[in-house]
């Protein structure tokens, strides 16, 4: 799996860190650190995180699920 978070979009809602704590971690109250190539055993956690992100900042490749190909078409913070 390959993951990237658009940290311009990210507003620190921390849903990913709640739902996939072995992949995403808050560093302080609002900054996010993550493993961009998590182990496959985290697949379901990553899918949860991708769907739960309120600003759709997480892109994943290789986690299965057609819906993850969702490309965001809304301008930043608009």
């Amino acid at each position: 799996m390959r993951v990237v978070v658009d940290l311009n979009r990210c507003q620190g809602y921390a849903q990913c860190a709640f739902l996939a704590p072995d992949v995403f971690a808050m560093h302080g109250e609002e900054a996010l650190l993550y493993d961009a190539q998590p182990d496959d055993i985290r697949r379901v956690d990553v899918l949860r995180a991708v769907a739960a992100c309120p600003v759709r900042a997480i892109t994943v490749e290789g986690a299965g699920g057609k819906w993850t190909a969702d490309r965001v078409g809304v301008p930043h913070g608009a």
């Binding site: 390959r2 658009d6 302080g28 109250e29 650190l33 961009a36 190539q37 190909a69 930043h76």
Partner: protein
């Protein structure tokens, strides 16, 4: 779709070459494919790796939480490209539509996208730069080398330059419990990007986390031992510091040397292009077949007086790559301007710093929410009576409001009250940016006037 024959042919069977196989190059290639380009696509990159993400290098990678090779960028779609990795572009022949490569081969194109980005500005004294223990941080290999050395537990790390990258490196060192000295020529860390009012907050964070911060000094020399290992640095105030590792974080320099003599308006400030990402030649005329995107581009922005902006921003690379790719395969009337509002983030000392707009154009700043002391706050920057930028420390959820103020050219100071307004937020104060002619350690945004052929840049390092 009424396309003229040549554009239709280009979309169907043309050859598009992308020089630069990082974030902007990848996103451009994906956009070309999703918008229906079915011809041949070649991506050329000087590093031996496919596209990977750089921001984690100075954060989770250097913290040792994520291996350096765990930063590959996900693909949005299959791009079916020919990859020429590990070989740099070395020249461009506009008339022959040909890119020369460092291995002596060349590639012809119908349309070219230049996304060669930037590289770390090296320590200017080459002998000193070669000392064992002197590092820069830009690539995955840089991060791997530096991480390896930090693991060995050096007695002290010297960070030269307290821009965003330098400050992030210092933060990581403290988190790894390594003694660290930061030398910054300006009055405070981040002064070039955010001004001294915010820079003072950054300085306090460094002090609170045990960084030995030295502002207003230059590093005048790096001294090695007989085995060629770094052991000491000398400062302009006569002081010295013993350090086994020095990280040179003096900002970036644009990868445009390979375009020397090509006729494109390329120089140390980047490659000038129009808002549609078409490159200018040295006569100030746009080239039809050459496009530019990402850190290496300078393009005029209507929100900022149509001045040329160079933005070393992740989001800019993505947005500009998408616009450039779209325009490369679209007829004139369907082309789009690149109107992205600059957005930026940095994580250091456990604080999330985000900015929107162009802070370093500002003259004044107002702390509109929260307090510099905590430090959790949002501040608005003003330029000639309008809002031009905003910055937040751990208050990112408010920034989209300020983005709208910037986009609507709202008056500054903001003529209304807000939640969490403190006494310090009652009136604006000078933002404290250094004289633009004095170089700072890598402002991420460069505003460089109206001329597409502006070649002037002076940098007097440390």
């Amino acid at each position: 779709m009424a396309l003229d024959g040549s554009l239709e042919r280009l979309r169907r069977e043309g050859h598009i070459v992308v020089v630069g196989a990082s974030l902007a190059g990848l996103r451009a290639a994906e956009t070309l494919r999703t918008e229906g380009f079915t011809g041949a696509l070649t991506l050329i990159g000087d590093e031996p790796y496919g596209p990977y993400d750089r921001p984690p290098l100075s954060k989770q990678v250097l913290l040792g939480r994520v291996p350096p090779d765990h930063t590959d960028l996900p693909r949005h779609c299959a791009i079916d490209a020919r990859w020429r990795l590990g070989v740099a572009a070395s020249g461009l022949d506009l008339a022959a539509k040909r890119v020369a490569l460092a291995d002596g081969t060349s590639v012809e194109y119908d349309r070219l996208l230049i996304a060669t980005g930037v590289r770390s500005r090296p320590w200017p004294n080459e002998l000193e730069a070669c000392l064992d223990g002197v590092f820069v941080l830009r690539t995955r290999d840089d991060a791997a080398r530096l991480d390896h050395r930090l693991k060995a537990g050096p007695s002290r790390v010297l960070v030269i330059g307290a821009g965003f990258t330098g400050s992030e490196i210092a933060s990581v060192c403290r988190e790894r419990d390594l003694p660290v000295t930061v030398a910054e020529r300006g009055a405070t860390p981040l002064v070039g990007a955010l001004g001294s009012v915010i820079g003072e907050v950054a300085a306090r964070l460094q002090h609170q986390h045990g960084v030995d911060l030295r502002c207003g000094v230059m590093v005048t020399g790096l001294e090695g031992d007989s085995a060629g290992r770094l052991r000491r640095a000398h400062f302009s105030d006569g002081g010295t510091v013993e350090a086994e590792v020095a990280v040179v974080a003096l900002g970036a320099t644009r990868n445009t040397e390979w375009l020397a003599g090509s006729g494109l308006a390329a120089g140390p400030r980047g490659i000038a292009c129009d808002a549609g990402c078409r490159a200018f030649d040295i006569r100030g005329i746009v080239a039809d077949d050459v496009f530019v995107a990402g850190d290496v581009a300078r393009s005029p922005h209507p929100l900022f007086g149509y001045q040329f902006l160079s933005l070393e921003h992740w989001g800019n690379a993505v947005a500009q790559a998408e616009v450039a790719a779209h325009n490369m395969i679209s007829p004139g009337e369907r082309r789009r301007p690149h109107l992205w509002t600059p957005y930026f983030w940095s994580a250091q000392f456990g604080v999330n710093i985000k900015s929107v707009g162009v802070p370093n154009m500002a003259d004044h700043i107002l702390i509109s929410q929260g307090s510099l002391d905590e430090p959790r706050f949002t501040a608005a920057y003003g330029y000639q009576g309008r809002v031009i930028a905003a910055v937040s420390f751990d208050q990112a959820k408010w920034l989209e409001f300020y983005q709208r103020q910037i986009e609507q050219a709202a008056p500054f100071p903001l003529p209304f009250t807000t939640v969490d307004r403190r006494p310090e937020g009652m009136r604006p104060v000078p933002a404290g940016f250094p004289d633009p002619s004095v170089p700072t350690h890598g402002p991420e945004v460069t505003v460089s006037g109206h001329s597409p052929t502006d070649q002037r840049v002076t940098f007097t390092p440390a």
